[in-house]
Symmetry: D4
Subunit: 256 residues, 8 copies
Amino acid sequence: MVEKDIEQLLCEVKNGETSIEEAVLKLKEAPFEDMGFARPDFHRSLRQGQGEVIYGQGKTNEQIVEIAKKLLAHGQERVLITRMSKEASEYFKENMTSEIEDFSYDELSKVAVAGKQVNTAEGIGRIVVATGGTSDIPVAEEAAKTAEFLGNKVVRLYDVGVAGIHRLINKKAMDEIMSANVIIAIAGMEGALASVIGGLADCPVIAVPTSVGYGAAFGGLAALLSMLNSCASGVSVVNIDNGFGAGYLASMINHK
Amino acid sequence: MVEKDIEQLLCEVKNGETSIEEAVLKLKEAPFEDMGFARPDFHRSLRQGQGEVIYGQGKTNEQIVEIAKKLLAHGQERVLITRMSKEASEYFKENMTSEIEDFSYDELSKVAVAGKQVNTAEGIGRIVVATGGTSDIPVAEEAAKTAEFLGNKVVRLYDVGVAGIHRLINKKAMDEIMSANVIIAIAGMEGALASVIGGLADCPVIAVPTSVGYGAAFGGLAALLSMLNSCASGVSVVNIDNGFGAGYLASMINHK
Amino acid sequence: MVEKDIEQLLCEVKNGETSIEEAVLKLKEAPFEDMGFARPDFHRSLRQGQGEVIYGQGKTNEQIVEIAKKLLAHGQERVLITRMSKEASEYFKENMTSEIEDFSYDELSKVAVAGKQVNTAEGIGRIVVATGGTSDIPVAEEAAKTAEFLGNKVVRLYDVGVAGIHRLINKKAMDEIMSANVIIAIAGMEGALASVIGGLADCPVIAVPTSVGYGAAFGGLAALLSMLNSCASGVSVVNIDNGFGAGYLASMINHK
Amino acid sequence: MVEKDIEQLLCEVKNGETSIEEAVLKLKEAPFEDMGFARPDFHRSLRQGQGEVIYGQGKTNEQIVEIAKKLLAHGQERVLITRMSKEASEYFKENMTSEIEDFSYDELSKVAVAGKQVNTAEGIGRIVVATGGTSDIPVAEEAAKTAEFLGNKVVRLYDVGVAGIHRLINKKAMDEIMSANVIIAIAGMEGALASVIGGLADCPVIAVPTSVGYGAAFGGLAALLSMLNSCASGVSVVNIDNGFGAGYLASMINHK
Amino acid sequence: MVEKDIEQLLCEVKNGETSIEEAVLKLKEAPFEDMGFARPDFHRSLRQGQGEVIYGQGKTNEQIVEIAKKLLAHGQERVLITRMSKEASEYFKENMTSEIEDFSYDELSKVAVAGKQVNTAEGIGRIVVATGGTSDIPVAEEAAKTAEFLGNKVVRLYDVGVAGIHRLINKKAMDEIMSANVIIAIAGMEGALASVIGGLADCPVIAVPTSVGYGAAFGGLAALLSMLNSCASGVSVVNIDNGFGAGYLASMINHK
Amino acid sequence: MVEKDIEQLLCEVKNGETSIEEAVLKLKEAPFEDMGFARPDFHRSLRQGQGEVIYGQGKTNEQIVEIAKKLLAHGQERVLITRMSKEASEYFKENMTSEIEDFSYDELSKVAVAGKQVNTAEGIGRIVVATGGTSDIPVAEEAAKTAEFLGNKVVRLYDVGVAGIHRLINKKAMDEIMSANVIIAIAGMEGALASVIGGLADCPVIAVPTSVGYGAAFGGLAALLSMLNSCASGVSVVNIDNGFGAGYLASMINHK
Amino acid sequence: MVEKDIEQLLCEVKNGETSIEEAVLKLKEAPFEDMGFARPDFHRSLRQGQGEVIYGQGKTNEQIVEIAKKLLAHGQERVLITRMSKEASEYFKENMTSEIEDFSYDELSKVAVAGKQVNTAEGIGRIVVATGGTSDIPVAEEAAKTAEFLGNKVVRLYDVGVAGIHRLINKKAMDEIMSANVIIAIAGMEGALASVIGGLADCPVIAVPTSVGYGAAFGGLAALLSMLNSCASGVSVVNIDNGFGAGYLASMINHK
Amino acid sequence: MVEKDIEQLLCEVKNGETSIEEAVLKLKEAPFEDMGFARPDFHRSLRQGQGEVIYGQGKTNEQIVEIAKKLLAHGQERVLITRMSKEASEYFKENMTSEIEDFSYDELSKVAVAGKQVNTAEGIGRIVVATGGTSDIPVAEEAAKTAEFLGNKVVRLYDVGVAGIHRLINKKAMDEIMSANVIIAIAGMEGALASVIGGLADCPVIAVPTSVGYGAAFGGLAALLSMLNSCASGVSVVNIDNGFGAGYLASMINHK
């Protein structure tokens, strides 16, 4: 019940069109309806060309197609689908109808885009996505593709892990890092990349631990703890392997 | 060795003022000196009225005073000191010399400011600092005071934990949340506040787990894991009780 | 050996019908035989139309059929079988004999009912089963079907997770929550749903952490710790993914 | 803003005493008050002679007295204060004013009651509070005193741990267990008591792990995991040492 | 109520010295005594000069004295008190009455014996108590003194840790190990002693991890896990620092 | 180098048959050769009809057959093979030669015996093997078959878990427990069985946690911690699922 | 840009062949090349006949072949490939071209060598690789083959675990241990081997925990913690199952 | 019994001064002394001016003095005492007798040297001790002083953590790192220093995690896991805060 409705109701009470009892009842029911206002800005930012996102894991092929169709039917230009299996993407392609303009799928990152493919990068600056090794690239691509989908220019800086720090500390890479608006630092094993980049950069660094590694990596726990304890300022952490979350947050910051 | 110096050296080589051997030597030594450029922007952003920060914990009273004096002598207007014991603050006051304009200390958050006290809030928007309970306030004040020190307008929203969600979901609190540029969500125990705010807000949320709680809270681990697994987008996490880190990162984002 | 029997025995001793040696023996054996009375009420509550439950996991197809037949042969009207594989359900159907009136199987929750299907909901009030996301539904259905099997009216409130709190805080959902007799709150990832519902509701909340999630969810540990540390009163927790346990306990409370 | 106030306001609108603009403003500010309806039953159950609870830990002596006075001034008959240090209780006694009718403090459980002391046990049945050992008694008394404060009849069954199972499995103790409406099973070390009682009883069992023990007890973790994995049905768990939570939940169930 | 008493009572009933009503009453009160038959051998083994044990930790000085007096009054020759603080031992000495024949206290192991001091070692063979280092000796003495109290011959083999394996593998130490009936292997840090002794000995080895160590010793966890994974056969483990438990079990085995 | 050899060498030195230099060399080499005496008793106890054991896991089919043949060829009557896959057992049967008298394989426990099958139970008393549930039986059978192989009389008491404690506390089961010489208590989930049996029995109890369970059972960790913290005396613990280790140790104790 | 190139450039500047502006540009781009000086010794030691290493896990068959070809084409004599699947090795053999002189693959350790096979052992002394059991051999062979590839003489001492310490403490094994320059101690389960060898040897011991074991071995955690807490001096630890890391480090020490 | 003594004994046997029986007895008692040969090089390296080490923690003041005196009396020139409290050092000074030439104590590292103070650095090259922050210096000094005591030249490179990587990557620091023979990398929090140095250096790197940090540092666990997972080759790890172990191992490598 928005302001206008309350006014209207009060008028009706004044005019005797609505009894006080009825009005009390309606007003008591209202507060939660008002709660709908809770995420309008969020909806707005997503709606303007980027659209809602589907987390593919744990959803059936049918569900994914159905949700995508509904979103596109409601005026959304494009839909991002994350953690989509190859098999689901094939099912999708076979069951696309003309209402879905286009569909692309990246097997490495398991990210798909349904609908209008090209998106303008209206974000303020550039988002640098850096990885410690080549095995971190699937997570990195989930982050990069999410950020691109949400209208950001993304620079990829892969395999610049600290074991060979010269790969990171050289004019070219440093230029990217110095001019970035946000950096996503993705690493498994000991996760030291986040701290090193955090110590070099002058912008927010979103650290993504990955489950890459073995033994005492404990499925990403070592990298996670390492990143949480980063002695560099300006570093925050998302869940293990959460490329989407990092890309989404980076886009938020880049659109400020 | 900056560009100008290299040019100068080449001129000397051309003119025969410097031998090729000497020049090779100098150039070989240069790269790391050049690395000094790595954090100029960082220094700049800090230098302009906010200044360097001293992490007080594990430093002797003497060390803190000495570092603060050095920083202020090098033209920094004010120095933030975090995790400073009351005893250290008293020692500081007793040993201040006229070169330190002023000194304030907040016992709750253990945060002190030495030098010029007032700082203009030149950040873009407002940073909301929210806590789940009253016991989280010391961490919150570390975050808030850090952000204020770095030139941000801060809105405090304390004790709005999810156990009584109406404290959070009401017009006044929601208005603050909806109009924030960055939100710092601080909570111990089950740390659900971050997810709820993340689901309501449309800006980056920095989650700070606190060590508040007992039993299976395991010193903040429960809140930490909860926040890392937040199903809301736009949420990232810093270390347990790391109010400073959250305030610093929030300021970074707010100055974009 | 109840009081009357002891009296009788003493009489026999007095009368010389039983020797002291025999009496000593009987008295020494008695206490444990008496223990048989330990669970009569429990048996009663189960026997009246609901019947014994079979935990299917780790049992062979043959064992399940055999136990079900025995239970039904002993006068139980229906048997609940949980964690039953699809393959086991097919074996069951193929090997049913006329003594088993009917058999239904739900693949999602892996719950089956053998015997008389319909059960009257004689519980006092309604049990609300709420989930944070759609992936939690299999656990939720195990809980719901268990509660229904035991004679309760169940209201399902799925996918009302805190990431979009308006899904929970609206007139319709709130009405269900406000009028529930017991609520089962089921969530994976950060498990915040239990705290939020616990803060809103005025009845016992049984929290069920699920293994839904990845990375730092650690197979349900994050949700489990979160729920154990709930700052809301009236919340208790069962094992990860333990839908049956929650449904069973909810029924107990609802039959008070 | 309660129902009566809304009615009053609508009357004034109808009568022209309040303009529609003013009424809209007042109603817009109301939601927080309106949100109060979210837990009316909770308030009711508490209000009727039992009153709000103060969690003393982490609160200053002054804060506790202040909150207690405010609650009692708002018509609450008695206030429960948990985790109150002895020193805080002494401060309380010294700073009590005549508006606080009485005050009692139990050093063992650190529980205090301010205001009217005696409470009628209007709960349906009895709550049995059982402990494994004597060291668990402080937690047990927190639970018992909470339940009594909330209007329940409590039976104490202390030191009936499974190491000497005859202490539990005898006519007298079994009678209590069999006739209980809710049982709170409190144990540290291996926490087996909850399973054994859960296997014997026919009512909900709330298990409270305690931090009693050493070595691999890991501060209550062993008991916590043990209780969560209880093979007995009808058992749920609260946080380590959370006597209050158990007592509160038990009262909720006992008032159904 | 032991067998003899029951017989006596039955005689009285038979002879009419006791009415049936009185006898029923006595027998109904007996269950605890009757339940005693559950552990007759245990009682026997304890009763014959060794007596019941008091776990001192968490008990008040008064409680310890009181329990000790009661046990000694009931015919027990001596009482073992473990985890007794020095202060408690002093209180004991001051409050001893003539009914307690003697009292000895060992500050290192915090073990005391009240009553008749000397006990005959009627155990079959010898129990060897070995420690990895000198810091493990308090735990070792708890084990050794417990075993001696229960009537065993104990051989101490301290500071024979694997870092200098020649301390263990020499004729003298090996002779003790080879001729032992049970061995208690006590070690902190990496706890390797249990495996090495387990590999050398031909008798049951009870491994006791201790909390000696720092860093990744995690309060005894490293030693505990190490001992549980011992590749030597015949090794079992008790709780961290549980010298009493090891001594008690060793005595049980040694009296077979 | 045994005593006799040293004497011989000294004689040779005395007689000048061996030079002092040679003798010094031989004596310096000796100590480790002497170490061979380290496990003669162990060998003896195994050799007398029971023989060496093969841990099948991680060994190829060929290796198992080869080792078994070698052991039987060296005079051992029978060989126990644990953790042997069904496939390995079939390979064994196909590749047996006449030198192997017989071969039996139990699929449930994955235990095989090669050579002479029947073994006399020369152990002193009976070993009771008890399990909490039916899913623990494979581990229990590994323990039972190991104990039988090593010459012990074994009583099986399966599915006597504490959730239905009357299954354990009844005349028949109690008689077995009371007359046992050693008890092996095997349970997953909360592992309370060990404590309950430990509290009832008067003989050493070897607790075996199993990986049976789900969720917060954490692969046997819950049962392991529970058993390590057992408040009953006389209980010690072996590794999760280590049926062999329990059976071996029980046999050691039963042959004392 | 190596020294020679810088000299050349300076000459050109001097001679006027290159303008100062062009030279500045080239030098600014150079740092990355200059950074190469950071690990010249590393490169040297690798380059001289041993060459760069490929970590096969997570790389496609094509990538492995491609990288190997490139390395061999750049003058490296041989390439070590670790964690290579059998299938990858077969693909390699099929796709080898004449530029790759030879290829060998060891299925057990998953280690391959491409290029010139034989390598001279120019290391100072011998590296002993010892394992606790036979299941640790794959990790041991990864270590041994890495060390041999890098030019070291390796002595294998397998299956000398502490459960039968005479296997380790005998003249032959002790001679190897006493004369080693570096020892790699590899063990799963309780990992005691490292401590025992560390206590015997007089050279650096590199401990490698393996994931061999079950239950409370927790995938190598038990061995890892055990080794980190080794009471023997001179022991350091690498990641679980990290045979390559141990072999590489041992070679480094052996070439000092 | 050293070689010389055995020779002497054999001479006596040859000469008839000692009977064969007596000699056998003496030789049988000898092995323990003979076992001493197991670590002759260790003893040698220690004996030559450096001497045995005393781990002060957990030892009484008296014990430390006594052991030091005994070692110095047996010809050792100097004794290193680690983890010595200030109070113990004062007791030492007060109770020194003329036989102890000198005594020095460093409060920061809690390291003392008793006996001859100056030691020649006969190690091959230099050991670099680097720390991430200033709080790691106590551990670093324990390492440095241990290495110096054992005859090594030590270079200190403190506070070069990765948060400001230019502190590490500059000509001066790099020169030290490049020319080191062994590097000890000491860091708390995220422990990234080890990886970065491992990636830059060409010599063995011994990583020492410290307990510096808070929250998710979990007492050094984060740094420990980070270091164990180092993606740089040539890195191994010792226990948390184990400065002595690192210094000792570094000396071993540096004396190769």
